[in-house]
């Protein structure tokens, strides 16, 4: 497959600049806004959110805590105070509604870094990529929890480049930003979507929430797909698209159910045929299986992710 260096051109020509970059712009606004909430205090003395993404207090009433960090703390045998337990519960419920890895594409400060690396990769035509299995990050989640248990410390936070970057930006502890530079170079030169797509246990954890989260991207207009492959070129987790987009063949619904989808909306932006939309997971139920009209090929019924299997066996 040839790499499409400028996948957005067609969509821009057909839908206009706004419709073909809407989600990218909204995400950047969201990312900047989340930083601004934390920075308005130290910079201008207007305190909105205190703390960091690990745990914060907004306007003195709303506690928010990263559930993955609380989980590590529990593994290290510390029973958290009510405040951080409440905060973790709120965040958990929030992402159960708003899509799991929406954290990755709408909040996480590393996302602009990896997006930039991916964009540069396309533009510079870098096709080399080290082969890392995307499942590795799930194993890393296990490794992090095991290390927390064995060392009795919140283990991932000792090296987590995500919170380190946030601390660097919000508290000015600048060495922490070094990890983000390493991620940028890794994503650009070593592996495509290397960090977020293969290694980061934080994303992998939120991906597990994403498997059941309410808000999803759906390929509900998939009949209009003209196989231009632009969505595959921009999606940070391209393996999640085909089960839904090409689901007609397997009897799968049009909703991207895979937890790895970051609900970034890049596919919505880039598609000139308006195949993708934001929607609820329940839309899959609303679409009756097309099995009455086109019987699903028997061999494919085995797996809900035929694309992954095909790649495995090749």
């Amino acid at each position: 497959m040839t790499v499409n260096a400028r996948p957005y051109l067609e969509a821009r020509a057909q839908k206009g600049l706004w419709a073909s970059s809407k989600f990218m712009v909204l995400r950047r606004i969201s990312q900047v806004a989340f930083l601004a909430l934390f920075l308005s205090g130290p910079l201008f003395g207007i305190w909105i959110a205190k703390g960091t993404l690990a745990s914060s207090m907004t306007l003195g009433v709303l506690p928010l805590t990263d559930p993955f960090i609380v989980l590590q703390s529990l593994a290290a045998r510390h029973w958290p105070e009510a405040l951080s337990a409440t905060g973790a519960a709120i965040v958990l419920v929030g992402y159960l509604v708003f899509g799991g890895r929406t954290y990755c594409s709408w909040v996480c400060p590393v996302n602009p870094v990896t997006d930039l690396a991916a964009w540069l990769r396309r533009r510079l035509g870098i096709t080399f990529t080290a082969k890392i299995r995307p499942e590795l990050r799930l194993y890393f989640v296990g490794a992090v929890l095991a290390a927390s248990m064995l060392s009795g410390s919140v283990a991932w936070e000792l090296i987590n480049p995500v919170t380190a970057l946030h601390r660097a930006l919000v508290f000015g502890v600048w060495f922490g930003a070094g990890g983000a530079v390493a991620i940028f170079l890794f994503d650009l030169l070593v592996a495509k979507h290397g960090w977020c797509g293969h290694l980061c246990p934080v994303g992998a954890f939120y991906g597990q929430i994403g498997r059941v989260a309410l808000l999803r991207v759906t390929a509900d207009n998939r009949a209009a797909c003209n196989d231009c492959m632009d969505c595959f070129a921009v999606c940070p987790e391209p393996q999640v698209i085909s089960p839904a987009l090409k689901g007609e063949r397997t009897g799968a619904g049009p909703v991207i159910t895979a937890g790895d989808c970051t609900v970034c909306g890049a596919c919505i932006d880039v598609c000139s045929k308006q195949v993708f939309h934001l929607g609820l997971r329940s839309r899959n139920a609303a679409h009756p299986l097309p099995s009455t009209t086109a019987p699903a090929p028997a061999a494919r019924v085995i797996s809900s992710q035929p694309a992954v299997l095909e790649r495995d066996l090749s």
Partner: protein, 255 residues
């Protein structure tokens, strides 16, 4: 080894899946081992890095603190900082260096109240009971008071004056006619706030606050103080004075 050997699944899909699991699992095991080692080594922290009031013992603290910085934000004196890679304590955790900015021992202890996880123990409500560390005269040879001068600065600035630091009078053997006023720290009352270390007039402070683990405050159980035991028992512990053998050379006491 042929495919039909025992234990190797014939189905290529299952074999591939098993291979993958072994390879990824191996990678994860290596990662877990390295991270565990790093987690254990992170318990070491520089002696001058003190934890905020109410901090759990270092091991428990590292299991509890999520590195959110809420304690840092609510400290009105900018005493606390979050650790950067170059600072020494586990990265992202709050600490202070007494010689730079000591703890002012706020009555309402805002840092503890802000902590969402309990890494700073909410049971601490009286700041006088804090144990951030313990002051120790680390340099008897330079402390001005111990040279027979009257500096007294550490004593004067101590928020628990006459309890945490007292001046103990002794004879100045050098001049033979003056006194020495030795600053003595009483760990029971010292909170480790660091005001004394901060104020020491010497270029290198002669009094320093050390983390409790380093200052080692526990008396071994088996060392009993006769005079205290006597008081507890309300009288002598043995009925009659013991008769001890006389050990003199002429009595054959020495070989």
């Amino acid at each position: 080894m042929s495919d039909s050997a025992k234990g190797i699944p014939r189905d290529p899909r299952r074999r591939k899946a098993l291979q993958d699991m072994t390879r990824l699992g191996g990678g994860a095991a290596v990662a877990a081992t390295m991270l565990t080692a790093f987690g254990v080594s992170s318990r070491a922290r520089p002696a001058q890095a003190l934890r905020p009031p109410g901090a759990l013992p270092e091991r428990d603290f590292l299991a509890a603190c999520v590195r959110c910085g809420l304690c840092v934000r609510d400290c009105p004196y900018d005493t606390l900082r979050l650790s950067d890679w170059a600072d020494g304590p586990a990265v992202g955790t709050p600490f202070f260096v007494a010689r730079n900015v000591p703890c002012e021992m706020c009555d309402n202890i805002p840092c503890v109240k802000a902590c969402p996880t309990g890494a700073l123990d909410h049971a601490l409500t009286d700041i006088a009971k804090a144990k951030m560390g313990v002051a120790v005269i680390t340099s008897r040879e330079t402390c001005l008071n111990l040279q027979g001068l009257r500096c007294d600065v550490c004593y004067r600035v101590c928020p628990a004056i006459d309890k945490a630091i007292t001046l103990e009078l002794s004879h100045n053997a050098r001049t033979t006619k003056h006194a020495i006023f030795e600053p003595v720290v009483h760990a029971e009352y010292c909170t480790g706030c660091g005001k004394c270390e901060k104020s020491c007039v010497l270029t290198d402070a002669a009094i320093k606050v050390l983390p409790i683990e380093i200052a080692a405050l526990k008396q071994d159980e088996h060392y009993k103080r006769g005079w205290e035991e006597k008081k507890k028992a309300g009288g002598a512990l043995v009925d009659a004075p013991l008769k001890l053998p006389v050990r003199r050379p002429e009595a054959g006491g020495f070989p």
